[in-house]
Each structure stands twice: as C-alpha cells, then as structure tokens.
Symmetry: C2
Subunit: 444 residues, 2 copies
C-alpha cells in the first residue's frame, strides 16, 4: 500500500494565540515548549514555558509532577496537558493547571546565562559567546522578530510597487567599487572576490524588470572596529527605472518606512511592547542638501567646518540632533553628496558637477541608507570611468547593459542591522545581528 | 523653507494593468518603457514597448514620429503619449496611437541577440555571455518571475505556519559538513570558509524561535560540471522544532508546494502562459523507502542493483519515471537514506540504524530537497561525532545549543534554481539562474 503526504499535519498541541480563544478556558489543552524557568513556591510549582509566541505559565500542585518523577529542568523541551484557566497575573492572562507532563528532551548542563531574567544583565561578549543560549532570552529574541518585520515590510511594500525580487551571486570576478575592502578567495584557480554590494547586478536587472530588489548578505573587509560596522551584513537593496529625478527614490524609501512602521504596529506589537519601542515618525521626512546641513549644524552648534567635502560621524550625529530639535524629525535625507565621495556610477548634478544626485538617510543621526541616481548613458559612464583613472576591465558585462540601452534609474541600499539597531534603541550593531562578523569574530 | 518627503510619488505614466481598465479606452494616456521592437509596415510603424508587466503595442502613422526626428531604436527607453484603443490582435487587446514620443535614453549599439524574438534561438553560452541583454527576452524574463513566485510562496506559507525568518552569516570558521567542497578565504589573517548550508545556524535557532527559515546563497566548491550543479545557489531552508516524527517535515514541504502552486496560478498566470507551463500535482505526494524504491525500479526496468547503499542519478530518474507511470505523480519522497550517506547530525532510525529518518524529494526524477530529523540529544550527538572520527573542534558553539536543551526537530533545504528548472521544464540549471557560477563561469 503506497502512502501519501497530503499537506501540513494538524497537531493537537496549541500555540498561545489559540489558547487565548475564550472558549478554551476551562477545557483540557495540550501544549509543548521549552522550560524557560521553574519557580518552586512550596505548595505549587510554576513551570514557565517559552513558546514561539511568548511565555506561558503552567502551574502544578506539588504532588503531581513528582508522581512523574523530578521537576523538569530549565532548558528541557516538554509536552504537557492540563486545564486552561484565566489568571490575570500570568502572561497573556491565562495559565495551565498541569495534569500530565512529559520531558521530550533534557539539557546536559545548567544554563551559562540567566536567560529567564527579563533583562539579560551580561556583557555583549558573553551574549555573543553563548549565542545559541543568550537569544533564548525574551528581549533578545524580540529584537530579531522586529528585524523580520522590517524585511517583510520591505518586500511586501516593493511587491505592491511592481518590483521583482532577484538573487545575484555573491562570488564574482570583481565587485562594484573595487578597492581595498574586498575579501578575496580562489575560485577554481581564478582570483575572486565577495560582493560588497549587488550594485552592478541590480542595475543590469533594471534593464530587464524595470524595478528590482534583493535582500541578501554583503561583505566588506573594512578594518573598522566600531559600534556601527560589520564585515558581513544584510543589505536591503532596490533599484528602479524610469525615474523623473532622484527624489523618486527618496519618496519610495519614505513609502517603505511608512508601510513598515504600520506593519510593525499591526503584527509585532508584542515585541514592540517587550522592547518598549516607540516607533519613529515617517509621515514627513525633511530633506536637506549636504552643504546646507553642514552649515546649519556649524552655526547652531558652533562647530567649525573642517572639510567642506566630507561628513564626519560627529557631524552626522549633529545633523540628526538638529532635525530632531528643529523639526521633531527622526529621519532626515541629506542630499547632493560630493562627487569625490561617491562611486563612479553616481550621477553628477548637471547644475554643479562637484555634487551628485545622491542621498543618505540618517536615522537619529546614523546613516542607514545610501542611494541616488545612477548614470544611464553609456558614453557618460565610460567617460566617468576614464576620468577616474579606472579600467573597464571586468566591467564589460556591466557596460554592455548600457551599450544596449538603459532607462534613467537609481536605487538605494539599507543596512538591515543598523536600521534594526536604531529602531529598537540599541547602540551597538552586534546587538541586532544574530551572528555578527567583525575584525575579531568569525564564530559562532 | 524646509522640504519634506511624504511618501511614494504618484506618476502620471501607466502600467499595463492600469491600461486594461475599460474606462481608459478612447482616452489619452502616457506610458514609458523600453523599445522591444520596431516594425515598420510602410504606412504605419509599430513600436512595441517592453514594460514590467509585458509587451505593449504602440502604433504611429508614419508622418508623426518623423516630425520628432527618427524612429526610436530597439533598446531605447522612451516615454510616449497617445490615445488608447482596443485592438484584438495586440498583446492584452489594446494599443496606443502615438501622438508624442520622447526618447529618454538611446543605446550605443545594436542588440547582439534578437531579444525581441519570441524564443531566443541561441546557445546557452551566448545567453550567459550577454546576460544583461538576453534576459530582456520575454520568455527568459518570465522564468525569473516564476522563481520569484516560488520564493514568495515559501516565505508566505512559512510565516502562516509560525516560522521566523533568520539571516545567518555566510563567512565562518567552519561549515556544516566540512570536507573538500568548501571555498576557503582569509579573514583578517584567520582561515575562513563560505557556508555550504545554514544547517548549524538554523538548528541553533530552533532552540530560540521553534521554527525558522532562511532564503539565501550557499556555496559548494564541488568539481561537478553537470546540468544540475551550481557552485553557488539559493537555498530555501527551514528547520522546525517539536516534531512528532520526520513525517511532519515532509508534510510541511507538501503544504508549501500546494500553497505555492496556488500562488503561481493566481499571481503568475501570465508567465505560466508565456512559458506554457503545466503546474505539477502536489495534492498527494507518494513516499517510498530508499531500499524499496531501488527494488521497485530494479524490477520494473530490469536493472541490477549495484550498490544497495547508494542512489545513482539514473536510478533517481527511474524512480521519478516509476512514480509518474504508476501513480501519475510529479513528486515522490524517498525516505530512509543510508546513514553512511547522511551527515553526522542526521537522526538514525532506531529500528535499523543503518538508515536515517531522512528524505529527499524528487521532482520528475531530480532531487530538489534533502531533509530529515536531526539528533537533538547532546550525548547522542557527541557520540555520533566521535564514532565518525570527527573532531568537536569548531563545533563548540553548535554543541552548546544541545548541551543546554534542544527540542526534537528537523528540517530541509530546497534548491531554488533546481525547483525552478523542473517547474518551467528546462534541462540545464543555468537556464534558471540569473548569473550562474560554475567551474568555468565567474562572470558576469
């Protein structure tokens, strides 16, 4: 007799959202989960389960679990049955009176960190060294649910705007910007690099799909050891054709932020509450020219402009502060970055070619996005490459897209971990990266 | 006066789906797009625009575009205005009578391939060598919209099943299975590898989120040069805790396939039509043991079993054929692969430890998924590692998840490009990869 799979198996264990159906109260229910904490109160024992939707309080009069043997240890995976009752003091307002408890799997050793504490009061290093354990803390875990919501928002919004998702290779013969910050490897006896950005690929794909996006890893061999740099991060990239000006790209990003804040409010309210996050305001985002922004903060904060063509991290922070103070703005677009500071593919401003039609988005004073209009004309692109003293070698495929026609276009890249960090109010990017890669960290 | 961005800019150009609103017929409309083909019929000229939703026929009585200068060349990006009219012979049943046409950007050179032909009659090599151009062909492009639909289906379905999306690093100190097929690089003076799979990370994250998934690149330095291998591909990975048996994982995959075929039918019907795809049947997927499958094809096709513990590609193809012929099945789960052929983390079958609680999913005779139950007990895992003569070095972080408690769990990985290839009926995986990486191809 041939057997068949016919679809998802219905399970008889319930999730927290199912337990909140008022008709369940007073009935016998079955759940599973990890033992997050065991609180022995003498006459009763509280077994707090960690489930994917949150914590669930289960309670046993002492004799019963003892009939099954010892109390389950923290870290055990268990399945239990009991009667669901209302209890205002319990998380979600319900608890289960345990009638039967089975240990599915028991830990070998006690927890190295107090993951059941509300706040994991330990160093960042300890959190990262025990990553598989530290993320079991409810607050630690919540940050990555918020991160999921951001990526979901990005994709859902862009699908609604006619974008196509693409998957571009991370190993290649060369990368968008070249230079020293490339990881190099040998690829079947050929020199290869890890992509710093999907830039060249997403531009090529504008000629195919008009509007494209990708959410994937990028690699930067930068020797920065700061709170805001990673050597591998997740980049949310988009590129769009037929733009009227580079404003269209900033407008698209504003739309993404508005959509995503709404999505977080709707679907991630539990996590926002756990982390006590106040969502930023994205209804109106001010824009200011690079040179004007420098002038504004120089005047207000009495700071000398040292280099008119560069923006120091402190100046970025002050621009953020300025717009917070003057306009109550969480975000600000800084536009018209100097041409020298932008890659070869950036479109110079025809009104003043020392500047580009580009922008950064600052969120509370930290750059979370770089974007702008790109050169679409083949001749202009070839000339720019030559004027920079670059070679066309390795760019032949990229250039062929332009040789055979490309619409006016532009795009942006958002650093996912940075956006998450600022959103949840962390001050080190490693706090919002599952497994960060930095100068000294290659494990876990 | 400070300026603000307030959301997506409404554009006055229309997309094809907007043009299909019957109220638009007879009105003046504005569109943009790439000139896909120009057909000069003497008295009239057809300018076929390629837009993201398909082709759009625009027609001009000859005098008019000449007033604006020359006809736009294939590959130009244009904006045009004119009156929308019904025309049964045109794609989508409408055409635009051009009144004004502006060239936004013109190509430098003529197309190297006839991308405007319905089928791009050229070699795979030529397609890949001119990737930015060949994908502009409507049929070539459609394959990657279908691919988008698969990934969308995977994510949407898994969100609905309580999975959390994760982002795990692609550069690490070691990878899941070790061995010869790793790309190696230097990471700030430390030896590093590119991940073959997110296996170890997704398992660790089961202890945090219960159910996780990831869609991202994986890297295999295999020296295979076949029609079904890539050295970098997109893996759709999931891992789920609290399973009752490894059947739950196959059931989840069946659910994914059912959901995704429905999504493709709903949202990608245009592309399915363009590619003349008949979607496979996923309502009931047969399952058969590895040894039984070997016996069945050996008997039916009169083929000697050479190695009872290995499955040759020809046998895989025959298993596919057998189930197509006997059960009209497009898919078949082959279960209980020999322990020797599975990695250390695979759960052996306690009934016969020479076999594992694992499976492959074959689609028309090609393996598109490998999955199974994993060992969740720390002691069992440590013993298995020792019995294989492996070292725990580099696995400390992974093992710590188990030391501190892990639920019974399992998961799978789906090769996106292989699934796309079989779905659209291609026979070379490079046909369904935007920018394939193989032994000889590192560009574009």
């Amino acid at each position: 007799m041939m057997e068949f799979l016919t679809g998802v198996k219905q399970c008889d264990t319930l999730e927290i959202s199912e337990l909140l159906d008022p008709r369940r109260v007073g009935t016998r229910v079955k759940v599973n989960g990890a033992v997050h904490a065991v609180n022995n109160m003498g006459a009763v024992v509280f077994v707090i389960l960690r489930k994917r939707e949150g914590l669930l309080q289960c309670v046993s009069e002492k004799k019963e679990p003892e009939q099954e043997g010892k109390l389950p240890r923290e870290g055990s995976a268990v399945e239990l049955e009991g009667v669901l009752e209302r209890d205002e003091r319990a998380p979600h307002g319900v608890e289960i009176r345990i009638q039967r408890l089975t240990v599915l799997s028991a830990p070998e050793e006690a927890m190295p960190l107090s993951v059941s504490k509300w706040k994991l009061n330990t160093s960042l290093d300890a959190k990262l060294n025990y990553r598989a354990v530290s993320l079991r803390n409810i607050r630690e875990r919540a940050k990555f649910k918020i991160q999921e919501g951001i990526v979901r928002g990005f994709r859902n919004f862009l699908y609604s705007q006619g974008f196509t998702e693409i998957h571009t290779p991370k190993v290649g013969a060369r990368s968008a910007e070249g230079g020293a910050n490339l990881f190099r490897l040998e690829y079947f006896h050929h020199p290869a690099v890890l992509q710093q950005s999907p830039q060249l690929y997403k531009q090529m794909m504008v000629g195919v799909f008009d509007r494209v996006f990708e959410t994937g890893p990028v690699f930067r061999a930068e020797k920065h050891n700061t709170k805001r740099h990673l050597n591998e991060y997740t980049s949310l990239d988009l590129e769009m054709g037929y733009i009227g000006s580079f404003e269209d790209i900033m407008a698209m990003e504003t739309g993404f932020l508005q959509y995503t804040m709404e999505l977080l409010k709707q679907d991630y309210s539990g996590e926002l509450r756990i982390l006590e996050v106040t969502l930023p305001e994205a209804a109106r985002i001010p824009r200011v020219r690079f040179d004007e922004a420098k002038r504004l903060v120089s005047e207000k904060y009495n700071r000398k402009i040292r280099n008119p063509f560069d923006l120091e991290p402190e100046e970025e922070a002050l621009i953020g502060r300025y717009f917070q103070e003057e306009y109550d703005a969480d975000f600000v677009f800084v536009t018209h970055y100097p041409s020298k500071k932008r890659p070869f593919y950036a479109m110079d401003d025809s009104a003043d070619p020392r500047y580009t039609l580009s922008f950064d988005l600052l969120f509370h004073g930290l750059e979370i996005t770089t974007g702008g209009q790109r050169i679409h004309d083949y001749r202009m692109l070839v000339d720019k490459i030559a004027s920079r003293g670059m070679t066309e070698e390795g760019l032949e495929h990229y250039l062929s897209a332009f040789k055979h026609g490309m619409p006016p276009h532009g795009g942006l890249g958002i650093g996912l971990e940075r956006l998450t960090m600022k959103l949840v109010g962390e001050d080190n990017i490693r706090e919002t990266t599952l497994f960060p890669r930095d100068l000294s960290r290659l494990e876990p």
